[in-house]
């Protein structure tokens, strides 16, 4: 069975810089100078991305299919 890999994207219009995603996955997210987080990690399995997306207080993390 093929397992798809996903990336995350932070919507800067929604992100409030709570840092929750960075605390959860310090290798995958980073704070930009403008106070918004960004995804800098490698592709992930969808459950991992969904778990961290759920912790975001403003649902700013979107799941993006690698393909």
């Amino acid at each position: 069975m093929e397992t798809k890999r996903f990336r995350a994207r932070v919507n800067p219009d929604l992100c409030v810089g709570s840092t929750m995603c960075i605390l959860e996955m310090p290798d995958a997210f980073r704070m930009r100078a403008d106070g918004h987080a960004e995804f800098v990690g490698d592709a992930l399995d969808p459950d991992t991305v969904r778990d961290v997306a759920e912790l975001c207080p403003v649902s700013a993390i979107e799941l993006i299919n690698e393909d």
């Binding site: 219009d13 409030v16 810089g17 605390l23 106070g35 759920e54 975001c56 207080p57 403003v58």
Partner: protein, 404 residues
């Protein structure tokens, strides 16, 4: 440059802060207010920067107790200090990070969606009591009891006891509003805290024997598995949630509904297009959010908008002024229920971004959809008079509304 009024409670400023905010933003973006004894920030860029800065400390409790109280008072009010100093809202990393990570799991948008039924139940019940009445007091008949009931249910306090929270919460709020150690107020606040904590300890002990499906039981389970957490952390966190989740939501309901009732075009637009409800509520937050400002302590010497701020200085960050900054918002003095995006700062930003925002947003959406649907003829009978507060933006009761 004209002289700036240092009296943040000047009736003219309280009734309509906008012109004052404009002068601050344009002429004194980082202003030393001698009467308040701190710096006042008002531009979006500066307030946003301060909320996101790791050099700004949220612990304004320790300096308050150390520098503004005598040694005798410090001893007398040790319990108040201990409770306040354990609240996430007044903590800095690393302790803030630790507590916040625990709490945030209880208030994610998904966790909050499981509370929808509780919220809908209360909304239906309150508005069923409005049916057939000619006039209601928005505050007493809905905005005050509704969020208190919701947060009490979530924590797990029996509904019969909710009225007792009001007195305790008011004691604490008076302390917070007084802002300074007026002895009697501090005594009353401490008495309220002692009673409140003893009451919660009763709920705690019941749950030791028999855990339930509520937030207190959940926090107790976390406590049992985390050696850095104590019984006090659980009890104090419940006190914080009960307070934080109550008056702010009450004010947002009153401020947003009165604004809409004063702008019939916007009200009609929203009633005819309920799909704008989400953006409408955000605009309510931007326009007259429940907190005009919040406070930080400078963690080191720094320069802000040309002024030299020293380590230990306190700062008032005026989210209310930032929310009307034309550098960030088009036509900022216009209330527009369709405004999108709307990056207002009314829930704060950065590390201390309001933990309860998903709950507050859900409470507002459910309540306003129902209000507008059930009572299409609502109109205001009272004049809107704002309460003189430095930080809060709150309307004096009663707020009489005709339903017919």
């Amino acid at each position: 440059m004209g002289k700036i009024n240092d009296d943040l409670l000047d009736p003219e400023i309280v009734q309509n802060p906008s012109p004052y905010y404009k002068v601050l933003r344009e002429e004194h973006p980082c202003y030393w207010n001698e009467r308040w004894r701190g710096w006042v920030l008002s531009r979006y860029e500066d307030v946003y920067g301060a909320l996101h800065s790791t050099d700004m400390l949220a612990d304004r409790i320790t300096p308050f107790f150390r520098h503004r109280l005598s040694a005798e008072e410090q001893r007398r009010f040790a319990l108040t200090y201990e409770v306040l100093h354990s609240f996430v809202v007044f903590l800095d990393p690393p302790r803030h990070t630790h507590l916040r990570r625990i709490f945030s799991r209880a208030f994610t948008p998904k966790a909050v969606s499981t509370m929808r039924g509780v919220v809908e139940g209360y909304v239906q019940e309150f508005f069923a009591n409005w049916d057939g009445r000619d006039v209601v007091d928005l505050n007493k008949d809905f905005a005050y009891p509704f969020p208190a009931n919701v947060i009490a249910s979530i924590i797990g306090a029996p509904r019969e006891d909710v009225h007792r929270f009001h007195g305790w919460a008011d004691g604490l709020t008076n302390l917070l509003l007084a802002g300074v150690g007026e002895d009697q107020r501090m005594d009353r606040a401490q008495d309220a805290l002692v009673e409140f904590k003893a009451y919660l300890k009763g709920l705690y002990d019941e749950r030791l024997k028999q855990p339930r499906d509520d937030m207190m039981s959940w926090l107790m389970e976390v406590e049992q598995n985390d050696p850095t957490l104590t019984e006090d952390d659980v009890l104090h966190s419940c006190i914080l949630l009960l307070n934080a989740g109550h008056e702010t939501t009450q004010d947002l309901i009153c401020n947003t509904l009165t604004t809409l009732l004063e702008l019939p075009d916007q009200m009609d637009l929203l009633r005819e297009n309920p799909q704008h409800m989400k953006t409408g509520i955000e605009e309510g937050l931007r326009f007259n959010g429940p907190l005009k400002g919040t406070m930080r302590i400078a963690g080191k010497d720094m320069e802000i908008a040309g002024s030299r701020v020293r380590e230990g200085d306190r700062l008032l960050l005026l989210m209310g002024a930032a929310n009307r900054d034309p550098a960030k918002f088009e036509n900022p003095e216009q209330f527009d229920v369709t405004r999108n995006p709307n990056p207002h700062l009314s829930f704060s930003h950065g590390l201390h971004f309001c933990l309860g925002a998903p709950l507050a947003r859900m409470e507002m959406e459910i309540a306003f959809n129902e209000l507008l649907r059930r009572f299409p003829k609502m109109h205001l009978l009272s004049e809107v008079k704002w309460d003189p507060r430095i930080l809060g933006r709150s309307i004096e009761a009663p707020i009489n509304i005709a339903l017919q």
